[in-house]
């Protein structure tokens, strides 16, 4: 009964919300805008909202059995992690080119998620402008390759270093601030970087971006059909027939290795004094100060290291795409990376992988559902792909409201007094 009433109320509120914005669609005409009523859309949305609220009400009032507290999560996590790694290694050999490409995409976000996790998950600093460091890394490599002819592997360390430098420079003045202010300053910083990239045409080529960035080579062996002057290609050297998918598989393993390196680094540094200081600082800054931890330096190191991994990922992104422009580094990307970290459960390495797979393949799934829609007799609207960001936003809210700690939350300390944690 209560569910019914709530459903009706939700429908009523939705009616008020959608009546002007959805119901009165403004359409451009030669003589100016005019309004076209959309009664059907409003009725559909209202009915959907009422039904959804009714369903939630029913579900919430079901009798609940108490579950015993979960045990052995760490062991399960290790199993899943191992199996996942195995699957990741096998994937490019069994999957199609499309799957490998999607895998590369996911792995970039996994790496970014793991990098941001150092800042947000471990040190507890909210960074809304992480994409700036990603962009700095990408542009560092793009400019080094186009202006000075550096190769990917030569430029990679410098990309990380540059991004870390930016992180420290930004962090130095703002890390004294409280968390929320820090969030907005980092957001502003991300926008500043993007605007500078966009407007500083002499160096960055403005909105046109940088073209023709070289792909990484395998110990100096390029993945091309024809050997450059005085060199051999990868295929020739190993007596294989040339196949463009070799390069793709190689790229896949490069980003897999880079991501795993990030993961390994994070897992190790959590045990070191600096990593423990990050986690302590996240839990209670005042106590940390009282114990003599220099909060600013500790935060700065987290910021710099997180930025460094962002820079590495950016360099890979530039190499993989071969083309970068400022529009690849907008706030939407920052929000996506942050969503991956938070939805995965702050601090949980495995959760981030799951969230990255979910969120990145979400749009792909939406697109293929839209293709299917034509075949299913219009059950799924053909423009379903347009709804993906809408659903993405709604899903962010829904997951936060139902599981504020993320999908796999892990908040127990890495190191316990008296015994070393597994």
């Amino acid at each position: 009964m209560r569910a019914l009433r709530d459903g009706g109320l939700a429908g009523l509120v939705t009616l008020v919300l959608t009546l002007p914005i959805v119901g009165l669609r403004t359409v451009a005409a030669p003589e100016g805008l005019h309004v076209v009523p959309q009664i059907r859309s409003v009725v559909t949305i209202v009915l959907l909202a009422a039904a959804a609220r009714f369903g939630i009400g029913l579900w919430a009032s079901r009798p609940r059995a108490s579950r015993p507290p979960g045990k052995g999560n760490a062991a399960i996590g290790r199993w899943v992690g191992g199996l996942g790694l195995l699957a990741a290694i096998v994937l490019p050999f069994v999957g199609s080119g499309y799957v490998t490409d999607l895998g590369i995409n996911i792995l970039i976000y996994v790496m970014l998620g793991w990098g941001l996790n150092i800042v947000v998950g471990l040190a507890g600093l909210l960074d809304l402008g992480y994409v700036a460091f990603y962009g700095v890394g990408a542009y560092t490599f793009g400019l080094l390759s186009s202006d000075f002819g550096w190769s990917f592997w030569e430029a990679l360390p410098l990309c990380g270093l540059f991004a870390a430098g930016f992180g420290v420079t930004l962090g130095f003045p703002v890390l004294r601030l409280r968390g929320d202010y820090l969030a907005i300053v980092t957001l502003g910083f991300g926008e500043i970087i993007r605007e500078v990239l966009l407007n500083w045409g002499v160096v960055t080529n403005g909105p046109n971006g940088i073209n023709g960035i070289p792909k990484p080579s395998f110990f100096g062996l390029p993945f091309s059909r024809y050997a450059p002057d005085g060199g051999t290609t990868f295929a020739d050297f190993f007596h294989l027939t040339f196949n463009p998918s070799q390069r793709q598989i190689y790229l896949y393993f490069v980003i897999l290795a880079m991501a795993l390196m990030t993961n390994f680094f994070t897992l190790r540094i959590r045990r070191l004094p600096i990593g423990r200081a990050w986690e302590a600082l996240r839990e209670d800054e005042i106590a940390c100060r009282a114990l003599g931890i220099n909060a600013t330096n500790v935060k700065l190191s987290a910021f710099g290291i997180g930025a460094m991994f962002g820079g590495f990922a950016g360099a890979f992104f530039a190499a993989r795409m071969g083309f970068i422009s400022p529009e690849s580094f907008n706030f939407g990307e920052s929000a996506l990376i942050l969503a991956i970290v938070v939805l995965g459960g702050l601090g949980s390495q495995l959760g981030i992988v799951l969230a990255a797979i979910g969120l990145v393949s979400f749009s792909e799934i939406a697109r293929s559902l839209a293709d299917l829609g034509g075949g299913l007799g219009g059950l799924i609207p053909a423009n379903f792909g347009d709804y993906r960001m809408l659903l993405f936003g709604a899903a962010m809210v829904a997951i936060m409201v139902t599981r504020p700690r993320g999908l796999l939350s892990q908040r127990h300390p890495s190191v316990l007094l008296g015994s070393v944690a597994p």
Binding site: V16, L17, T18, L19, P20, I21, V22, L24, R25, T26, V27, A28, G32, L33, H34, V35, S41, V120, L126, P173, V174, R176, L177, R178, G179, D180, Y181, A183, I184, V185, L187, G188, F189, E191, I192, E195, V196, L198, N199, I286, F331, G332, A335, L338, A339, V342, D386, Y387, M389, L390, F392, G393, A394, A395, M396, V397, M400, V401, P404, R405
Partner: protein, 304 residues
């Protein structure tokens, strides 16, 4: 001199719009300590609501400017209020008392949702509003340059001033204002003393959304072009204004808004248009470094 005066007028008009949005940020921050990231998008929804009411009115053949303003005000404030209430109810209330980042992430989700909602419902193309007011006063004339104060700018400034007075009275004299100030100081104690905290917080969001809707109406009239993405930048700049004025302080929000408006218009007039948003962020960083509690804010003392 004349050019300077003109920029001053333009900056103050822009600042009035930012100030009204900034009030919503500062009120919500004061009462529940969260950055309502979706507030800029509520402003955007408000701008669309008043655009729709303009179009409906002209389709009905009613072309009086005064009538259009009054109807658009009531229409957009009324509907935006429901948006504000719903957002708080769905996305923030369940997270009250949760850890600090949760409502912020939820707010980012709401922001993405609203942008795409409006984009799907109203289309991605920018919409233009026909100007309602023509002409203005010429205040000052010097070597071929007229300093203009358009009727529209007068309307915006008067409307802002009236709203500010009404708002100040609301906070200082009514029982709702007292409840709000009580919740700001100590939510638990206020609840013990019989203040309905949930209702007060809901009303805070409703008032914030209404002010944002007025700002949206002004934006419509002043710029004449809107799209679904205007909320992002306007929101950030209004937040900067709130921080500059001292977050949690209501006069500070208006002061900060005016300052941001002036900085933007002077920067674009004398330096470069491209970097005007960068200028705002640089100011934000500088303020936070040298005066983290803002111009009119009280320094926060963290107690253990």
């Amino acid at each position: 001199m004349a050019y300077f005066l003109q920029q001053l007028i333009n900056g103050l008009t822009l600042g009035a719009i930012y100030g009204l949005i900034a009030l919503g940020y500062t009120m919500v921050y004061g009462i529940i300590g969260m950055i309502n990231f979706a507030h800029g998008d509520v402003f955007m929804v408000g701008a669309f609501l008043s655009l729709i009411s303009f179009v409906v009115l002209s389709q009905l053949g009613l072309n009086s400017a005064v009538l259009a303003i009054v109807v658009a005000l009531l229409f957009s404030m009324g509907f935006a209020a429901v948006y504000g209430w719903t957002i708080e109810r769905i996305a923030y209330r369940p997270l009250r008392g949760s850890f600090r980042l949760a409502p912020l992430i939820s707010a980012i989700g709401v922001s993405i949702f609203l942008q795409n909602f409006v984009q799907l419902a109203q289309g991605a193309r920018p919409k233009s509003v026909l100007p309602l007011f023509h002409g203005g006063f010429i205040l000052y004339r010097a070597d071929g340059f007229d300093v203009r104060l358009s009727y529209l700018q007068v309307v915006i400034m008067i409307l802002t001033a009236v709203l500010m007075v009404a708002f100040t009275l609301l906070i200082q004299k009514t029982s709702l204002g007292r409840a709000q100030r009580a919740c700001e100081q100590d939510r638990g104690m206020a609840a013990l003393l019989g203040v309905n905290v949930d209702r007060t917080i809901s009303l805070t969001f409703v008032i914030g959304a209404m002010l944002a809707a007025v700002a949206g109406l002004m934006f419509d009239l002043y710029y004449g072009v809107i799209d679904f993405f205007i909320g992002f930048l306007a929101g950030i700049q209004a937040f900067t204004a709130a921080v500059l004025g001292g977050i949690g302080s209501l006069p500070g929000a208006i002061l900060g808004g005016l300052l941001i408006g002036l900085i933007q218009s002077f920067w674009s007039a004398y330096f470069s248009v491209e970097y005007k948003d960068v200028a705002v962020f640089v100011i934000l960083v500088l303020v936070l470094i040298f005066r983290p509690s803002g111009l009119l804010g009280r320094p926060e003392i963290e107690k253990v």
